[in-house]
Symmetry: C2
Subunit: 341 residues, 2 copies
């Protein structure tokens, strides 16, 4: 069991549970959802099926659908089958964005497994990603709920816009924390919001939409900031990617943005080096640049920001029905924070 950053403020806190512990709160629903992610693919085109199955198999922990399942149970201990189905669709949408991300970043591996673009080619990955987006909408229409379609179609636009905004700021050493927040709000937090709000719509609890939106947004922000810190401080084998990948792609994430700000303030000779690295994406001295970011104090700032976002997410939870499913959501935010240690 790992203890969390948050524990330092709460002396009597229990140890953070594992992901499997949280998943077990909705074990049956999770199993059904997991089958439905595959079962929802019903293409008559063999290549669509094999690529989709490959990328869904190579998927991660299914955290977004877990959020949907916990939310649905939080509102109703016997939720409709729709919740499992919506959770599966959330994962399908998430997978579609990952497939396109890997094309864009020219990634050969994700979580230690070969990507679709590496296994097949870019063309196949682009088109199967398109199919997954289209199929997700197609399945959403099946719920016959216009409010649900509104949330998901607004959200999918925001996700795409967040991704383009990230590209717009690639190689931009002048990017600010506000730019960064706008990017992650779209590319990450929006789907967290959709995963929670969708469950509320299906369970007829739309009065909770604003508070769920808050929870999803802050949890998403915390999650992404932590992910970006790990790119400078994590265990690369554990993450299935290399340290400093973001820098090598010229992506100004919060650690870099803050490091540039701090190095500039202190007239540090490393400022110019880091600025040029972001601008060009050329990092022959990657290890030295990573060390520079670490030494700058930027990671401490990022950890504090992640902690703030986590706390805001946890505060939002307090307005929701108090039961073990809500507690599961709380534990998820703790678990995400724990990745920082």
């Amino acid at each position: 069991m790992t203890s969390t950053l948050l524990d330092t403020n709460t002396p009597n806190a229990q140890p953070t549970p594992s992901y499997a512990d949280i998943q077990s709160i909705v074990a049956d629903d999770f199993e059904i959802m997991d089958k439905q992610v595959f079962g929802s693919l019903n293409s008559k085109v063999q290549l669509v099926m094999s690529v989709s199955q490959h990328v869904i198999n190579a998927g991660g922990k299914r955290m977004r659908p877990l959020i949907t399942l916990l939310c649905a149970r939080m509102f109703d201990d016997h939720p409709s089958q729709s919740a499992m189905h919506l959770a599966a669709i959330t994962e399908m949408l998430h997978t579609a964005t990952l497939v396109h991300d890997d094309v864009i970043d020219e990634s050969g591996q994700r979580r230690g497994k070969p990507t679709a673009n590496a296994t097949w080619d870019n063309a196949t990955a682009v088109l199967v990603g398109d199919y997954l987006i289209a199929r997700a909408f197609n399945l959403l229409v099946g719920f016959q709920s216009l409010p649900l379609l509104q949330v998901f179609s607004d959200g999918t636009c925001d996700i795409a816009e967040g991704e383009v905004l990230q590209l717009q700021h690639q190689h931009n050493p002048e990017a600010t924390e506000t730019d960064y927040l706008n990017i992650i709000d779209g590319k990450t937090s929006r789907l967290f919001m959709m995963a929670t709000q969708g469950a509320a719509i299906l369970q007829g609890k739309t009065e909770y939409m604003p508070v769920l939106g808050n929870f999803g947004q802050h949890f998403g922000n915390a999650f992404q900031i932590i992910d970006d810190v790990l790119d400078y401080s994590g265990d690369s084998e554990l993450m299935g990617k290399n340290l400093g990948d973001d820098l090598a792609e010229g992506k100004p994430t919060l650690p870099t943005i803050k490091a540039l700000e701090l190095l500039k303030q202190s007239n540090h000779e490393g400022y110019e080096q880091l600025r040029v690295a972001v601008q060009t994406g050329k990092t022959p001295n990657a290890a030295q640049l990573i060390e520079l970011v670490r030494q700058s104090g930027a990671l401490d700032y990022c950890k504090l920001r992640a902690l703030e976002e986590t706390k805001l997410a946890q505060q939002a939870l307090e307005s929701l029905p108090d039961n073990r499913y809500r507690h599961g959501l709380y534990q998820l935010t703790e678990l995400a924070s724990a990745r920082l240690l």
Copy 2:
């Protein structure tokens, strides 16, 4: 004025009108639609706006929205504003598929203008294509019509599947006419069907859905077969692309499929050459291969098949309200056929 293939069977036929003539039947609607294609983009991300505007500007004749506009007026001489809006969305979806197609085919130009992937890069083109798909769905949700969403979300899946099926058969010299029809049914005809059926749903004329489906499918098939014939016989400057592009990409279109069949039947020595060209996509002797396809008699077969499809589309029109808008649709099918001469 060009006369058409079809004229040979109808001695009193009038000369085929120009595209501008047909467009003028719904001139006011067309103008509103054209503005709405741009007006419907309201991203806060500057790069989304500039790329989207570029690709929509570089767009073609807006034939799919023209079909929607003619259908809407055919049902009601004073259609709602929704028809113009839906027509604009149809063009947006079409543009999204073209943007991704250009990434896949690594095209630098489309209709003589630089593509998004050439002007920016693949990453930008993939993500802005995603935005256009998401935004099209977002706007469709605005109609608050589940039947419309069903048709468009089913259709968008079919389009993506058709595109993947085309990839699956790339470099496959064993592809059959049935494989080809399955491909073009998805990648081309489905959007023609959506463009007509969407108008019927908005005008409350759902009894015409099956016949509109027939019209759209056969017109789409005819249009695509003609397009594929032009890749072997057309004026490359006029088309803004090179002759033999499909062959160089290893795409077994109907001309190649039929040529392979005919050459094999006659034990022609060129059979093996053409088979290897499809299989490898290597065409150092492109001009010779194009001539081989032309001489094989395959293009005559394709023209006959296009004519059959055109006639089936025209027959379907006979079950629809008889007015000048229906006549406009008829003229569009004639105009498409005329491209063969």
